[in-house]
């Protein structure tokens, strides 16, 4: 079952992996210096940000040249079926690792809702904590008033949440947008498989449009939360889980939409055949993954 070809494909030595590692190293160090600078002086620009910029440009260039090589190899016919299957295994398990990354943050959300907030409110083993530290704290979710605020009032380091974002407003609209984009990317795939190039490009364009529309609405929602609702990263565990989950998801949507844009440009350029288009499929898989994560967010962060 392993393979039916009688030869293997092995790429020639490549400069990109080690340079990619270097670029990531610069980006990580730059960010770390920035954080330290910020804590020490309160000012952001400086050495760290330059290093980050350099690293970021490096990462971008590496993505470009590395994928350029892969695309060249693919188009020249150097790949056999076995290489294609290796790419599929690679992408599938990469997406699984992303699922586990989100699982950590969902785990934090569930832990806060099921354990830490009820305990702080005096349930279970938390009776003494509640009585001696925060006696007027109530176990309510969404947690608008943190334990600290019940003692410190307005001088608390946490901001008070005046209101949360209702599920059936922009979030519901965003659900519709993202689910529709999942459909449009499938239509694009069907068009590609029937070799309808204009259908492919237009459906892809629609998907990219919906993807960035989602990000735009999400950004507007963040501005609203920060300016009008007092819902910030700084407003206790509700704000922490809300922004980290939706923030990482929004980042992944942005990545996915950027990848879809690349696929769209390549489609316009005439890349992909109806048999050979794994790059398209990989991005489509990724897109469905961000879709599914969003459903989890909509249900557990916004709705319930």
């Amino acid at each position: 079952m392993s393979n039916s070809q009688d030869t293997y494909f092995i790429p020639e030595p490549s400069r990109w992996p080690v340079l990619f590692s270097l670029a990531l190293f610069l980006a990580f160090c730059g960010t770390a210096f920035m954080f330290n600078q910020y804590l020490a002086t309160g000012a952001m620009p400086g050495f760290g940000s330059h290093l980050l910029l350099l690293g970021f440009v490096g990462v971008f260039v590496m993505f470009f040249v590395w994928f350029r090589d892969v695309i060249d190899e693919s188009i020249s016919g150097a790949y056999n079926n076995q290489v294609d299957i290796s790419f599929r295994w690679g992408m599938a398990w990469f997406i699984f690792s992303e699922v586990m990354f989100f699982a950590a943050f969902f785990g934090a959300l569930f832990y806060a809702r099921v354990y830490s907030v009820p305990w702080l409110g005096g349930e279970g083993a938390g009776a003494a904590t509640n009585e001696f530290l925060w006696p007027s704290f109530d176990n309510i979710w969404p947690l608008l008033v943190t334990p600290d605020m019940t003692v410190e009032g307005l001088s608390s380091k946490f901001t008070e949440i005046r209101d949360i974002i209702p599920a059936f407003g922009i979030p519901a609209l965003n659900t519709v947008i993202l689910l529709s984009s999942g459909a449009t990317v499938t239509f694009a795939h069907w068009a590609l498989k029937k070799n309808q190039r204009s259908g492919l490009c237009w459906w892809l364009f629609a998907t990219v449009f919906l993807g960035f529309l989602f990000v735009g609405l999400q950004a507007a929602e963040y501005v609203h939360a920060y300016n009008d609702l007092g819902l910030t990263l700084n407003s206790g565990i509700y704000g922490s889980t809300f922004f980290m989950l939706t923030g990482f998801h929004g980042f992944h949507v942005t990545m996915g939409a950027t990848m879809l844009t690349v696929i769209l440009l390549r489609s316009i350029k005439g890349h992909f055949t109806k048999e050979n288009h794994f790059a398209f499929e990989a991005v489509a898989w990724y897109w469905h993954f961000v879709d599914v994560v969003w459903l989890g967010l909509f249900i557990f962060v916004y709705w319930l």
């Binding site: 990531l24 770390a32 290796s86 699982a103 785990g107 934090a108 943190t146 206790g236 922490s240 980290m244």
Partner: protein
């Protein structure tokens, strides 16, 4: 740019090698990348070992002798991070890189360029980690488990620690994906899953553990980062979070992690014992299922690392029983190794000696693990030197001994030269005696109540600590002998045959020693004679 299929290449010269520094920097060859992993792990072994020497020097006597307490804690923290992420994991991946493609009849890893990136991340990541020694606030000193709120009080080194963990996670996940793609997709025709050598099996399972657990660690340290710099309150009770939440998320990664460290060791030992017993592995299928069972169970036992932190009684009981249940598949493995040796025609070359020491000494670590897994008993043992003794028995005489066994076992295959058997056995006996002098007394001081991660101790612990330190220095020095054995083997060892060991079975032993730069350009045929036997 140039590229081509091996189809083009094997017509002219299929053993042509890139030369100079570029051969290593830009490599897409599983053997070169494997060598780099192994050399890197060996260098870090001495870096982490030097830190252990500082710890044992300070603990030679009660009172403060050489280092201040903050630096002592930095030593324990960094020793752990270096040994786990810089030695055992890279050495395991290095062996996988070298051996998995040869064992399954593949030309190389499935994704060779990504393979090189997984390696080259490591030196950069450890530059980041080790540079924290020279920063304001020093190196991480809050323990390798990075519990908040202590760890967030670290100085300028904090973001470097967090990003090192992210960076290493990227490397591990890429490495794991590569191994899965290789084994699932690159096996030679006729090589079914139940014909895979056990080393390959343990690595598939390890790869799944890596993909499932490393992202969770990345999430946990990301929350530490935002708690410190962005005002989130995941681990701040005043904001509705809980510092204990970090421990749960961390150990959800951390317990699978210990199997990431030990499963490849199981695989190595399962290759070596049949070879030197000149018998097939006893209970091959049960070994495969036991490996999978251990990995599966490892996701449901994490809270046994935190019995004393406070948990509902049902939680304490659940995690105790789940922990006990892991002893069953582990016992299957130990009994299978013993049964493999039963009535075998055994010889005791260095790899076999290390493998045998592994079986015995790892079992001691396993038994002390069972003691620690009993909740009420753990209330006594928690955070004492008994815990230190336990995990050093499983990680040093377990993982490191198996890696040493693997190195001696495959060194002739890699280099084409036999190592010096006398020196190898000297290395074995020095290591085995000194490591027990080093760690066995730590059980006693631990049971008597000596806490871990403390630079000073009560005077009644002095004698055993002195003995332990003497064992430690002897063990550290003995490892220098290993470097000499390797160098001597490469430079002047006698030529090794294809099969190297009389009892060796499997595809890798049908190849010349050293194997050609590109192992298989066309898929080999696998039959009963070359399969795992």
């Amino acid at each position: 740019m140039s590229y081509g299929t091996t189809h083009e290449r094997h017509h002219d010269d299929h053993d042509h090698k890139p030369t100079g520094l570029g051969r290593w920097l830009f490599s897409t060859n599983h053997k070169d990348i494997g060598t780099m992993y192994l050399v890197f792990a060996l260098i870090m072994f001495f870096v982490g070992g030097a830190m252990a020497m500082v710890i044992r020097a300070e603990l030679f006597q009660p009172g403060l002798q050489y280092v201040d307490p903050q630096f002592f804690n930095a030593m324990t923290t960094m020793h752990a991070l270096v040994m786990i992420f810089g030695v055992i994991m890279p050495a395991g991946v290095g062996l996988a890189n070298w051996m998995v493609p040869m064992m399954i009849g593949a030309p190389d890893m499935a994704l060779p360029r990504m393979n090189n990136m997984s390696f080259w991340i490591l030196p950069f990541a450890f530059i980041m980690l080790l540079s924290t020694f020279f920063m304001e606030g020093g190196a991480p000193a809050g323990g390798w488990t990075m519990y908040p709120p202590l760890i967030t009080q670290l100085g300028d080194g904090f973001p470097f620690l967090i990003f090192t963990v992210h960076f290493l996670g990227v490397s591990s996940i890429m490495g794991a994906i590569n191994i899965i793609a290789t084994v699932f997709n690159m096996r030679a025709p006729g090589m079914g899953f139940m014909q895979l050598p056990l080393f390959v099996w343990t690595w598939i399972v390890t790869a799944f553990l890596l993909i499932a657990s490393m992202p969770v660690l990345a999430g946990a340290v990301t929350m530490l980062l935002t708690d410190k710099y962005f005002g989130t309150s995941f681990f701040v009770a005043a904001g509705g979070g809980d510092p204990v939440m970090f421990q749960h998320i961390f150990w959800f990664f951390g317990h699978p992690e210990v199997y990431i460290l030990i499963l490849p060791a199981f695989g190595i030992v399962s290759q070596i014992i049949p070879t030197f017993s000149r018998k097939p592995l006893f209970g091959y299928e049960s070994m495969v299922y036991a490996t999978a069972a251990i990995a599966f169970l490892s996701f449901f036992v994490w809270a046994h690392h935190m019995f004393t932190v406070g948990m509902p009684l049902a939680g304490e009981l659940f995690f105790m029983y789940a922990t006990m249940s892991i002893a069953v598949p582990t016992g299957v493995k130990v009994f299978n190794w013993i049964a493999t040796m039963w009535r075998g025609s055994m010889t005791f070359e260095t790899p076999m000696l290390f493998a045998l020491a592994f079986v015995i000494l790892f079992s001691i670590g396993g038994f002390s693990g069972l003691m620690l897994g009993i909740t009420p008993a753990d209330f006594q043992y928690h955070d004492t030197y008994f815990v230190v003794a336990h995990f050093h028995y499983v990680l040093v005489t377990g993982a490191i001994f198996a890696l040493m066994a693997g190195a001696y076992f495959w060194l002739p295959k890699w280099t084409g030269h036999m190592y010096d058997e006398k020196l190898g056995q000297l290395h074995f006996w020095l290591s085995t005696i000194s490591v027990n002098v080093l760690f066995f007394p730590q059980h006693f001081v631990g049971l008597a109540g000596m806490p871990r991660r403390i630079p000073d101790y009560a005077v009644q612990f002095t004698e055993w600590n002195m003995i332990s330190s003497i064992g430690g220095f002897a063990f550290g020095l003995s490892q220098l002998l290993f470097v000499w054995v390797v160098i001597k083997c490469i430079r002047e060892g006698k030529a090794a045959s294809e099969q190297v060991w009389e009892g060796a079975r499997g595809l890798e032993w049908t190849l010349p020693s050293p194997p050609p730069f590109h192992t298989f350009t066309v898929p080999p045929k696998v039959d009963a004679a070359t399969a795992h036997s």
